[in-house]
Symmetry: D3
Subunit: 135 residues, 6 copies
């Protein structure tokens, strides 16, 4: 019996969308207000889901407390109250769009989840914009 177990978390961060190889006009045209060179920010809401078989003894797929701690160690410690462009190595040469942030989070978590489990990341950039990545 496969069950998907989901845990919500959140972090706050500043970011700016732009490509250094583009000039200002092109960055402004594509990224609009998100291209503000002084940065802006978001409360990112995160849902991490792990799908696997229920352990027939404990009745759990994964211990929620461990999942909560894993998200804290791997995601919140790295991203919370940070400037993504300036302070997070993965975005030194990667545009911190919601899509790319979700992929980076998935890559950070994947090695810590057993290989026979599926992993999904949902990331809300605002209450109206969100993305889903499952590898």
């Amino acid at each position: 019996m496969k069950v998907k177990v989901s845990r919500k978390a959140h972090f706050n961060a500043a970011h700016r969308l732009y490509l250094p190889e583009w000039d200002d006009a092109q960055n402004e045209s594509v990224f609009g207000k998100c291209n503000n060179p002084h940065f802006h920010g978001h409360n990112y809401e995160l849902i991490v889901s792990v799908t696997g078989d229920i352990d027939p003894q404990t009745g759990m797929v994964i211990d929620m407390k461990e999942l909560k701690e894993l998200i804290k160690m791997e995601v919140e410690e790295a991203l919370d109250h940070k400037n993504l462009n300036v302070q997070v190595p993965e975005f030194k040469s990667l545009n911190p769009t919601a899509e790319n942030i979700a992929v980076v989070i998935w890559n950070k978590l994947r090695p810590h989840i057993a290989a026979d489990r599926e992993l999904e990341v949902v990331l809300y950039e605002t209450p109206r914009n969100f993305v889903t990545y499952n590898g």
Copy 2:
């Protein structure tokens, strides 16, 4: 790397559920309060999702601003503050259930989304009732 990008929108509308080929008793029996001949209404909450590869340069699957504008042009302009039965051509001979409204919205959006992208529509008729359609 395939990512699903989702955008929330909303519109308000009036509607009535009934079949003209049925008599009043049958309409009342099947559609209950939703059969009120003077109409009732809802705040419809809409989530439109587009799934595709991340553009390796911009880091985006689809520009959220373009998706927001597309929903505004194709869905909100057509349905917001309207009487679905009376003023929306698609429902002249189609019962405006949540299921049918979701399919109509999907059909309106599909031609504007690149063929290699998947499209999904989630429509909340009330905070407790919602439907999902993906073609």
Copy 3:
């Protein structure tokens, strides 16, 4: 010890904002899309609050089950799945704005609440627009 006890409820209804003594242009100018003569509608979310002393024996200000039932009898029965302009007597000559609907609901409930209790009504017309009335 005075405590405010609140109960959420909801109802769906159709309405139209307009003044019969105004011509079409003036109604359109003031009420915009809400003036659609074929009606539109909303999921109204309602919060009814009663403030009073805690009964020292039961520990309750008012029985939540009774408050729920009162809202059902006095408000939901009268307004749910109705066309406010056409089917609700109070709006025969009163414009069904959120403000006026809140006052009408307050007036319906007030006689059923003990005189030494305060009554407040909060009415959400949409998740972004709401009004508060306390007599």
Copy 4:
């Protein structure tokens, strides 16, 4: 045209996580605060989804009123305001984790849903912890 129709419901219950074949130290180590022998409790939020073809006449996959009633009869009557460990037969020898509760609810509903329809259960144990089961 296949559409997924979803209905939200909720129930309140007390429970305790533990395995009678384990000693106190092991139960405490694995289940932490959830192992409190005097029980604790939750407002469980439930989303039941049925996927199937739209009836071309009524425009419905399943009547929302019937789905609401089915959830009330099969799930709420059995679980609401109950102590899951003590008063619900299915958990006499099954640990009432969110995963197991979701499976029990799915098994209660499955016989009442037409065989050609898919069934999914999402269960929120808290606003931050939830599970999904679809058979």
Copy 5:
């Protein structure tokens, strides 16, 4: 310049509503399903608000981190994952209604808030039932 600063927190607990001096029939009649002798439970959502002058230097009324910590120490430690009737001294002879729990929480927090600040407690027993107490 007086500002009200609010912080949300939550805890899960089991409880039962009844009066030992009443017989079973009277308890059942007044408290209904909440009188289940085996207990039921809730995810209590809590909003604690402190109103006071903005410190002209720091720009804060109260440090949110300190308020968060205070709620954790005084409320969550005492109530989270507990059986209110059995394990929380304040409810040994006090019916754990939402009203009484809010008053108990207010009394726990009041000595830790400066005398010239106002304190308010909002407690959600379910997403639809909540109470407010401010002394």
Copy 6:
């Protein structure tokens, strides 16, 4: 009949909490992670409420469309997708705490609201932290 009319809006911004007259250690001690010199950010949710008499003809206290437009012009244009410390004049020498941002917003709106109306601003910095200011 006085009614309070409320409108929700939102904006995203980057900020940093610190006092230039303090050294790094003191800023770190008081403002913690919010003192990150590279900034972090939030999705600020805003509720603006205007209280006044219902116009007996239109049934409105204030036109929601005008209130929405006023918030857009005075607040969103000034703060959305901005770095509050660097790009918003009011915070050149004022720490952009939630308390101070709420006061700044109130001061921006007050001149545009009729003198006999009351004005209240609620500002959510995160879903768990918010402040209320009414002059």
